[in-house]
Amino acid sequence: MNEHAEALRVLVVDDDPGVIAVLRDGLRLVGGYEVLIARDGAHGLESVFETAPDCIIVDVRMPGLNGYQFVRALRGDPATAQKPIIVLSALVQDRDELAGMLSGADAYLFKPIKMADLLQALQQAMNLTASERLKRSHLLTEEDRSLT
């Protein structure tokens, strides 16, 4: 990577070494990202504040702080409320997907993840404006918008 094209940094928060290895390689080699790793939600949260990544990929099920709590902790602080966040889950359940979205994430993907889908979701999440993020992450309806 040359100094004129600094790589975007993505933080991967997951406790599964196999998933971490696949994501690290794919995001680095295919996506051109610099990849940071945290192995649970608490370390992930610390890492967000210490390393200020450009975007975040987080697994739902983790020891300590789970993926939903991790997302809410970031969305609840103006310092991190606009971080692009993708939630990953091994659970193929419509309700679980909805629950993931309701935590305030920008997008939600099931494992096994296709790298192309993940890279596209990251790109879309990073292009969201604040109002688009609010609308998407809070699933606002017409009725809801009258609140804002």
Partner: protein
């Protein structure tokens, strides 16, 4: 206002749940009364609201009426708000109560402690009342989804 005699000497806060048939009752535990009032105004008019300044007053209020949402500061004059949240969270009859922290504290450790104590959400002050209202709405929907799902968190 209910008389003290009918409530074993417990004192209701002056502005206790003024709405007659609310969809949601919200208990703010917030020493900064004006801030709680500002946030509460952003909630829909279907929400009934009570504001108390301390953990002691909150426990009294909860013993009279279990609210659907508790919003607490961490730094209370007589206790740590997270201790109160942990107590509510550990009480089976109150497992349905949504627990939200609204605080001036921004530390990572505070956030982790809050969720591990049972908080459902953590919002940092100063807080836009419209954003607060959205988070309340999101939390209510999330709770409905989770309670209808096999997923345990």
């Amino acid at each position: 206002m209910t008389s003290d005699d009918n409530n074993r000497g417990l004192r209701l806060p002056a502005n206790y749940y003024p709405k007659s048939s609310p969809q949601m009752s919200v208990l703010f535990i917030e020493p900064d009364h004006a801030n709680a009032e500002r946030l509460s105004r952003a909630l829909t008019n279907l929400s009934a609201v009570a504001i108390v300044p301390s953990a002691h007053a909150a426990i009294n209020a909860i013993s009279l009426h279990v609210p659907s949402l508790i919003v607490t500061e961490i730094d209370l004059p007589d206790a740590n708000g997270l201790e109160l949240i942990a107590r509510v969270h550990a009480t089976p009859a109150m497992r349905h109560v949504l627990l939200m922290v609204v605080t001036a504290r921004t530390g990572v450790r505070d956030k982790i402690n809050a969720f591990q104590s049972g908080a459902d959400d953590y919002l940092v002050k100063p807080l836009d009342p419209a954003v607060f209202a959205l988070r309340v709405q999101l939390l209510s929907r999330f709770r409905k989804v989770i309670s209808n799902s096999s997923l345990t968190l």
